[in-house]
């Protein structure tokens, strides 16, 4: 009994008779707190591999299979044993926050739970194939690809889908090039892409990369597309309008039919940025709204892990009229006999990936969709939207725009949103996306996703509210419980040190 009490120390303060300091700390905190693991060594956290060992080996010489003029002289890298490496990376992982660690409500990033069984499938030996094999010997890969193309077409209301783009931004690049090729094929030289000011930065960058001039469209007062401004902005030069729906404020573009008509009447195409598709599954489809081309973010909508920055995949769906422009190769069922083949669409834009995209990520996507089916997909959206609404209801911050769907943008008011976010880190949650979209002052763009339970949403709300109630000094000092304390961004950029070689030069 005594033994058990000792371990109950911080769980039940009264019973366990903890000392005064600990009790005081207990009373100060609200809800969940978080102490991230922190390995330190002198002036640094976990030392770099190169600080643990540097071994220089000479290259070439008598035993080399190559003459010396074709080889380098030496190579200097860490030479560590497997146990040392296992510990190195295990410690690094402990100093990293993932979706399984706690809520991760980054707006527009859709950090939802990543099922584990899809990882097992992606590791299946039959998935580890080289793409340069005849179609007849790759029927497994092609079948899964065809199935996923079909699933995505149904979900987006699109007639044909390519799986080649290796990320959402690459999907945009593909879609905008398809639009460009389509207009060129029609002898129509169009130079502009219209993008609302609330759009993701990738939209602007993509249009510019494809050689278009960007026309930025100001939002209307209600946070949606200003239809009159759109009418004024589109014309003979308009190649496409890129639109996210619901937009980054979580608002559905109620005038989507009028918007589609305006763009189509001007001869332009309507591009759907799939970043927020997780809000609409089973309730509305881009194809039915008048969109001609779209990309899907498989991480955001179909739960493939983000991996700290990829790999993702950004399949692109198009209407029939644009199908001939899809990248090569495209997969289809063969005529007659049951099987699948790759072919080059008639007016293909060529390629956007050296091979056929991020295959293992696509495989996980297919598995997720099959697991959920109609009911699960619709429920995912319902719960994502319910969670956002519930969370917004529970927090003491102004949410100026609505009705929103899977995400909302709260304002930190007279607080700095970045400081606000840093303090949230101390309460066991990842903060929202900050200071964007700019239409909301000190924006906290929040997307809890369907994967958070009511209890976790309450924790998350408590984190928001506690931070909102704290003084400036608490926010300035934050974060305190994370592996590293507030990091100097200015210093990092002023004197870039981007390798251990650069550190050694100091």
């Amino acid at each position: 009994m005594e033994e058990r009490d000792r371990y109950r120390g911080d769980a039940g303060a009264d019973d366990a008779g903890v000392d005064g300091d600990a009790k005081e700390e207990k009373e100060e905190t609200v809800g969940t707190t978080y102490d991230q693991a922190r390995w330190t060594d002198d002036g640094a956290y976990e030392p770099l591999l190169a600080e643990k060992d540097q071994t220089e080996v000479s290259v070439g010489g008598d035993d080399s299979p190559l003459p010396d003029d074709l080889t380098r002289d030496s190579l200097e890298l860490p030479a560590l044993s497997e146990p040392e490496l296992a510990r190195h990376y295990a410690r690094l992982s402990e100093m990293n926050y993932g979706v399984d660690s706690g809520p991760f409500p980054l707006g527009s990033c859709t950090m939802k739970y990543n099922p584990k069984f899809t990882e097992e499938l992606a590791a299946h030996p039959a998935a580890a194939v080289h793409p340069d094999r005849p179609d007849e010997s790759l029927q497994g890969l092609l079948r899964v690809a065809a199935e996923l193309q079909d699933y995505l077409g149904r979900i987006g209301g699109m007639d044909a889908v390519t799986l080649q783009p290796p990320a959402g931004a690459a999907g945009e690049f593909t879609g905008i090039h398809i639009a460009k090729a389509y207009h060129e094929h029609n002898g129509d030289h169009r130079t502009e892409v219209v993008i609302p000011d609330s759009a993701h930065g990738t939209n602007f960058a993509t249009a510019a990369m494809a050689g278009f001039d960007v026309v930025e469209l100001p939002s209307a007062e209600d946070g949606r597309v200003d239809v009159e401004a759109l009418e004024a902005a589109v014309g003979d030069d308009t190649a496409a309008l890129m639109l996210t729906n619901p937009n980054t404020l979580g608002l559905f573009e109620r005038d989507i039919e009028a918007i589609a008509d305006i763009v189509h009447d001007a001869g332009g195409l309507l591009y759907y940025d799939g970043a927020n598709l997780n809000a609409l599954l089973g309730r509305a489809r881009p194809g039915d709204m008048g969109f001609d081309v779209m990309h899907y973010n498989v991480h955001k909508t179909f739960a493939t892990p983000h991996g700290g920055g990829g790999p993702g995949a950004g399949p692109v769906g198009v209407v029939d009229e644009l199908a001939p422009f899809l990248p090569t190769p495209h997969v289809r069922e063969t005529d007659g006999e049951a099987g699948y083949e790759r072919y080059e669409p008639a007016r293909s834009i060529g390629k956007v990936h050296g091979f056929e995209g991020n295959w293992l990520v696509l495989l996980k996507t297919c598995a997720y969709i099959a697991r959920l089916g109609d009911e699960g997909l619709a429920d995912a959206s319902a719960k994502a939207v319910l969670n956002a609404n519930y969370l917004a209801e529970r927090i003491d911050l102004d949410v100026p725009y609505g009705p929103f769907h899977h995400e909302f943008v709260a304002s930190a008011g007279d607080r700095d949103a970045a400081d606000f976010a840093k303090r949230m880190l101390d309460y066991g949650v990842h903060p929202p996306t900050t200071k964007w979209p700019e239409i909301v002052d000190e924006a906290l763009m929040t997307e809890p996703t369907e994967a958070e339970s009511k209890d976790f949403l309450d924790d998350l709300a408590a984190a928001f509210n506690t931070v909102a109630s704290e003084g400036d000094s608490a926010l300035d000092a934050a974060p305190e419980r994370t592996a590293a304390r507030r990091i100097d961004q200015v210093e990092a950029a002023r004197e870039p040190r981007l390798s251990w070689h650069a550190l050694e030069e100091e």
């Binding site: 926050y97 979706v99 890969l141 690049f173 309730r283 700290g308 920055g309 699960g376 870039p496």
Partner: protein, 443 residues
């Protein structure tokens, strides 16, 4: 309060939770939360049946099993080396796998440090100062290098020169990236699988903004005139871009010593293996082009305690800050594969990495010798040192040889009417005897 049996298995709500939450927001039901005009509401079905985990697993495994189980002597830009178990185990930790881009560096020191170490690995291999956290693959990295040439002040012109034997897929991607900035992609001739220096000198002019060369080249030949190619590029104020991979660079002449301005290539030769063409592009360049680099960069800084800490840096180059004036539209890259490559390289260490690279030369040389002894085959086609792969002439039509080989359980590339390409690594080394025996049967 029972767990629900329908809907998403990854949404934790009980019926009571849902009811309480709806009550809190004042909505009658979930549908009331959707602000979608009637005219664009979707009333249909996807007609995708929900299945349990085991069923989906079984179905997809069965589907994947329709691909023939072949031992792949395949390469041409997509390489498989043995990946140690440690890589899978560590990279699969949820803190790495399920994390996001490191916008909050204070809770993401682990991944940032791993990426910093990945960047350092590439700096050591190339001899150039600035490596980014990854591009999608070698082909898109090459495309990005071409656009970089247009942002570098010392470079003028709008022609991009690539070897005539550049792999078709890579060339097609480059053409797509070249389309926006209106660059012309032209070729220079090759001899014995590597650059024809005289032909290159004829092809280059003052409108040339970039000269691209690979080592090893697409046919597995090690480029012997890398420095001369660099000199030609330099003489015309063109960017010199070298394509390689981390295993090859552990052994071959450092690109920086040959005058490379940018190194691109496929880094998934470490840490991944055959993955249906999924790869990871490396992008390394000189310090002077730092502010023109596409993609993510991790830098060292300090935190409030004065300890060294890592963070994404120079983000004003990137799309989320600079929008249409960004250096690239890239956002999500292949970060987790960079982590895997870094762990794989660390397990090898410098000795192991150089040994692996030397094996790539020995294995290719030995296998070419053995195939050359087979009646009906001559190998290698190119009179060069080879790395991992080489081409062979077949007396029989190459397609027939390859097709017969498949029946014996092996895959090779068919690259001409009477020409195949064969790639061998530590991963396929144990199958070499069987492969040679099969070749004796079919060639």
């Amino acid at each position: 309060m029972t767990r629900k049996t329908r809907g998403s298995p990854y949404a934790p709500h009980t019926a009571a939770d849902t009811a309480a939450m709806l009550d809190a927001v004042g909505a009658a039901d979930e549908e009331a939360l959707f602000d979608i005009p009637e005219a664009v509401r979707f009333d249909g079905e996807f007609e995708i049946a929900a299945r349990d985990e085991r069923t989906v697993g079984r179905e997809l495994e069965r589907a994947l099993g329709r691909s023939d189980d072949l031992t792949e002597f395949l390469g041409r830009g997509h390489y498989a080396h043995y990946v140690p178990a440690l890589v899978d185990d560590l990279a699969s930790r949820q803190e790495f796998l399920t994390s996001y881009t490191q916008y909050q560096p204070e809770v993401a020191q682990g991944f940032l440090q791993a990426l910093f170490e990945y960047q350092s690995l590439l700096v050591e291999l190339t001899g150039l100062a600035v490596a980014n956290c990854s591009m999608y693959d070698a082909a898109t990295a090459l495309g990005e290098a071409a656009t970089l040439s247009q942002r570098v002040r010392s470079v003028s012109g709008d022609r991009v020169l690539v070897p005539e034997n550049l792999r078709e897929g890579k060339r097609a991607v480059l053409e797509r990236y070249a389309d926006g900035p209106d660059l012309a992609v032209d070729t220079y001739p090759t001899a014995e699988g590597t650059a024809d220096i005289d032909g290159l000198a004829d092809a280059v002019d003052d409108e040339t903004a970039m000269v691209y060369a690979e080592t090893p080249t697409v046919v597995g030949a090690i480029e012997e005139s890398l420095g001369e190619i660099g000199a030609v590029a330099d003489a015309h104020d063109a960017l010199f871009v070298v394509g390689s991979d981390p295993v090859a660079m552990a052994l071959l002449e450092r690109p920086a010593d040959a005058g490379a301005d940018v190194v691109v290539g496929e880094a998934s030769s470490l840490g991944l293996g055959a993955a249906g063409g999924m790869g990871m592009g490396l992008f390394v360049t000189r310090e002077e082009y730092l502010r023109q680099v596409p993609g993510r960069l991790v830098g060292a800084s300090e935190d409030r305690t004065g300890r060294r800490a890592f963070t994404l840096t120079l983000q004003t180059r990137e799309q989320h800050i600079r929008k249409e004036r960004a250096t690239s539209n890239i956002c999500t890259n292949q970060a987790w594969l960079a982590l895997r490559a870094a762990i794989h390289a660390a397990t090898l260490g410098p000795d192991g990495l150089v040994d692996l690279a030397e094996d790539c030369v020995r294995l290719a040389t030995d296998l070419a010798d053995r195939l050359d002894d087979v009646d009906g085959l001559q190998a290698p086609v190119h009179d060069r040192h080879h790395f991992r792969e080489f081409q062979a002439r077949t007396d029989q039509p190459a397609a027939a040889v390859a097709s017969d080989l498949e029946r014996e359980g092996f895959a090779v590339h068919v690259v001409g009417e009477h020409r195949i390409q064969v790639c061998v690594t530590d991963a396929t080394e144990p199958a070499v005897d069987g492969f040679v025996a099969a070749m004796r049967e079919v060639a």
